[in-house]
């Protein structure tokens, strides 16, 4: 059931937006290499950060674009002056050097102060956003995320108390990714970005993750949530996000810190459901635990039970 649901609401590469200059620059390459209907991990258009589905990710995107356009503005001025020099002051065009132009305190003070002002303009909203990002108070659901080589363990607290399972690369991807497997990755749905059992969270709820690791440093990352934090052995890092109501669906990311041989093969998948559906899911999980006396086995399409998934 989840499989159908996931593919129905999965967020795929969508409308191209932004970066027209880049599109122009690489238009030829694009035309040659772009294959249509590529399955997407997130709502990025393939060029730019995703806007995402949390308040934080949207604020990050806005700040990213603000800084980007400031950089473009500076680039236009600086590169403009360079290109003008290259065109105008060519020896082959008979340009005569102005050897007296060696120093100007006034100009140098100006081009020291203007960048400082621009940096302050960028730093103030940035500092503001850091404070928001770090504020993990009043979360409604906490999940302990533990990194292992090479899978994630999710242990629910608060409303989801007692639910605990591992999340590992799905078998079809795992088969296709072997050296010379003979399987075309294009034929595997959500190649390398699918797991046997995703993290399930309710929408419209402030979720706090407590991240740690049992072996090496990993990093949990879902671009659409604007959520990335390292899982460091011996430490507990905190992270929060709140997916907007109405944005239910499956969101995908990956481990972002080199964690050994299979670093590229420990995806993060989060299934966002309405709070009611989430409650149902929690009940199902608890019932399954009671029935089996072991953590719930993965549902349709999943691999072997987590207990069988030993380190490679």
């Amino acid at each position: 059931m989840r499989v159908t649901r996931a593919s129905a609401i999965d967020h795929r590469t969508s409308r191209p937006r932004g970066f027209p200059w880049a599109v122009a620059l690489f238009a030829a390459a694009l035309a040659a290499f772009c294959s249509p209907n590529v399955a997407g991990a997130n709502t990025s258009n393939g060029f730019n950060l995703p806007v995402g589905v949390t308040g934080l990710s949207q604020a990050m995107y806005a700040l990213h674009m603000e800084v980007f356009w400031i950089c473009v503005g500076i680039a236009v001025v600086v590169f403009g002056a360079m290109i003008y020099s290259l065109v105008k002051f060519r020896r082959s065009q008979g340009a005569v050097p102005d050897t007296a132009m060696v120093h100007s305190t006034q100009v140098e003070i100006i081009w020291t102060i203007i960048p400082v002002i621009i940096l302050v303009v960028m730093a103030v909203p940035a500092a503001d956003l850091i404070i928001k990002q770090e504020d993990t108070r009043n979360s409604e659901l906490s999940i302990r995320v533990t990194g292992y080589q090479w899978k994630w363990q999710y242990q629910y607290m608060d409303a989801g108390d007692g639910v605990s399972f591992f999340s590992t690369l799905k078998q079809d991807s795992n088969f296709a990714r072997q050296l010379d497997s003979g399987v075309d990755p294009e034929t595997v749905p959500n190649y390398l970005l699918d797991v046997d059992k995703p993290m399930v969270i309710p929408s419209g709820t402030k979720v706090r993750l407590l991240l740690t690791s049992m072996d090496v440093i990993h990093a949990w990352w879902v671009p659409d949530f604007g959520a990335k934090r390292s899982a460091v052995p011996g430490f507990v890092n905190e992270l929060w996000f709140k997916v907007d109501a109405g944005k239910e669906g499956v969101y995908r990311g990956q481990c972002a810190a080199l964690c050994g041989r299979d670093h590229g093969f420990m995806p993060v998948v989060v299934d966002v459901r309405t709070p009611d559906d989430f409650k149902k899911w929690v009940e199902e999980q608890k019932a399954a635990v009671k029935q089996a006396g072991t953590p719930a086995a993965p549902t349709a399409g999943g691999g072997p039970p987590p207990s069988a998934q030993v380190l490679n």
Partner: protein, 534 residues
């Protein structure tokens, strides 16, 4: 001053231990104490490492050409990314700058040689051994280091034999760098020609003087960090082992306290080179030379208080995040001053486009792009999205390849006629320039898109929506790699012969500095009588 050579010959009777001509055969190189010979050895070594590291990059890009694993297994892929970085940083870029320092600092300050010639010999000859040890780890059971060049524990400590080999190699490289730096500092401080006060000193020497202090300050920090790794691995200590009460984050702090100055070690001499070349071919003095020196010094100082920006995602208190963001952004100010001054140097000049100038201009544009992505990465809240993605890979390759490496190529094209006495093929050198500049952008620009779209770095295989840009990037990589063969062709041709270069080499342009007052090729012993600087 063109008579130095004769002056030296006249003195020769009194200097029996000095030979006017180099020793014959292998002894010339094994027992080299001449700064020119040692400089040449450093540069050749660096070129060899550039191709070894480049071959590893080709393996990486070939595997990433399309999704799925076709060529190498993930473990070997990680060895390639790790070794590519170690070889390029410690084997290619840093020795190239030391080679240029060896060749050019005595010539630019009017000294007969480096201050400590035997130590100079030692600091070079350590390197082939260090890299033999490092590279031979590819052939031992368990393979080469695969935990990233940053060697973060606990991952690095999961390794086998490579742990000891890599750490010993890093120690040797560090010792070599420190000795090289001592030599640079002593030479510059004590052996400048009469009349050359510090502010009259060429910018290349200035940038190296500051770099040498940075190296001496941070190389021991790296040595300390890797020594703690060594004892954690072999002697049961728990510096970084959480289970034993240690702290894996402490390694990151110590490492990046070395690591951030290290990135400026790889770019400050490049600043010096560009500050030499742009005025020459703009036929106009460097704009704001004094503020350029202050800018280098401020960048060097700031480099010690920004290390935390490599670790925002790894967990850091709020106040530290804000502090490291602000200090990092501050670096944009002196760097901006440098870029503006270079632009002002070209402004109302009379520009010609010889190969060194072409590489310097390319540096100016492309390094600035790396600067922009650097400012973006400094913004902590968004860094959470950029960090550990291909956006970072694009950023540091923009500052290192069209930044540091292009500056090294510019320097080689600038001074090669002085070294060999021959002009090289301008046509081939320009072809090398255009191919390199085009392909380096095809190679690295799409990596910005990949990172923003969500591709993590250091992965051997990727989800299919990243296929297109990876293919473009790989094509750029193969093109860039092949173009470098032209570089070797130009150098070998030039070393073998060609049109004779004049003492000033760049006739019609305005090269300044003492190196242009001696004949080309620079005589084996130069400035045995110190020149007078007015």
């Amino acid at each position: 001053m063109a008579h130095d050579h004769d002056a030296h010959t006249a003195h020769d009777a009194h200097h029996d231990d000095h030979h006017d001509q180099p020793a014959a055969g292998i002894q010339r190189w094994l027992f080299a104490t001449n700064h020119k010979d040692i400089g040449t050895m450093y540069l050749v070594f660096s070129l060899v490492m550039f191709f070894i590291g480049g071959a590893m990059a080709m393996v990486i890009r070939a595997e990433l050409f399309k999704p799925g694993l076709q060529l190498v297994d993930p473990g070997f892929f990680n060895q390639m990314t790790t070794m590519h970085a170690l070889v390029m940083i410690f084997g290619a870029v840093m020795p190239a700058f030391v080679g240029l320092a060896n060749w050019m600092i005595p010539l630019q300050v009017g000294a007969p040689d480096m201050a400590l010639p035997r130590m100079n010999n030692f600091s070079f000859w350590i390197l082939p051994f260090a890299f033999t040890i490092l590279l031979s780890s590819l052939f031992v059971p368990g393979g080469a280091p695969a935990g990233g060049w940053t060697m973060y524990p606990p991952l690095f400590l999961q390794g086998g034999n490579y742990v000891a080999m890599a750490i010993f190699a890093v120690h040797l490289m560090g010792a070599s760098s420190i000795m090289g730096s001592i030599n640079v500092i002593v030479t510059i401080m004590n052996m400048r020609a009469p009349g050359m006060n510090l502010l009259k000193m060429p910018l290349f020497c200035w940038s190296w003087l500051i770099t040498a202090y940075l190296l001496i300050a941070v190389m021991p920090v790296l040595a300390g960090a890797v020594t703690m790794l060594l004892t954690d691995h072999y002697f049961g200590t728990s510096f970084f082992n959480a289970a034993g009460g240690g702290d894996p984050m402490m390694f990151e702090h110590v490492f990046w306290f070395f690591g951030h100055p290290e990135v400026y070690i790889m770019i400050l001499p490049a600043f010096g080179i560009v500050s030499e070349i742009l005025p020459t071919f703009s036929r106009k003095p460097l704009f704001g030379a004094t503020s350029m020196i202050y800018a280098i010094a401020s960048i060097a100082f700031l480099s010690f208080i920004v290390w935390g920006h490599h670790m925002f995602v790894d967990g850091m208190p709020l106040a530290a995040q804000v502090f490291f963001m602000m200090s990092t952004m501050l670096i944009a100010v002196p760097t901006g001053v440098k870029v503006f001054n270079w632009t002002a140097t070209m402004w109302r000049g009379s520009l010609s486009f010889e190969p060194p100038m072409l590489f310097a201009i390319s540096f100016l544009f492309l390094f600035t792009i790396g600067g922009f992505s650097g400012v973006m990465l400094a913004i902590v809240p968004v860094d959470f999205q950029y960090n550990q993605t291909y956006f970072v890979v694009a950023h540091f390759h923009y500052v290192l390849v069209p930044g540091a490496v292009f500056a090294i190529m510019a320097a080689v094209y600038y001074w090669l006629p002085k070294w060999t006495g021959n002009m090289y093929s301008m046509g081939l050198a320009k072809a090398h320039f255009w191919l390199s500049t085009i392909f380096v952008n095809v190679l690295f620009f799409p990596q910005h898109f990949l990172g923003l779209a969500g591709m993590p770095r250091r992965i051997p295989d990727y989800a299919v929506q990243f296929s297109d840009w990876n293919m473009v990037s790989s094509i750029g990589a193969f093109g860039f790699g092949l173009s470098q063969i032209l570089f070797v062709v130009v150098i070998v041709q030039c070393a073998r012969g060609g049109k004779k270069a004049s003492a000033e080499v760049w006739d019609g342009a305005t090269p300044t500095g003492l190196e242009w007052t001696i004949p080309s090729p620079a005589p084996y012993h130069s400035f045995t009588v110190a020149p007078e600087v007015k």
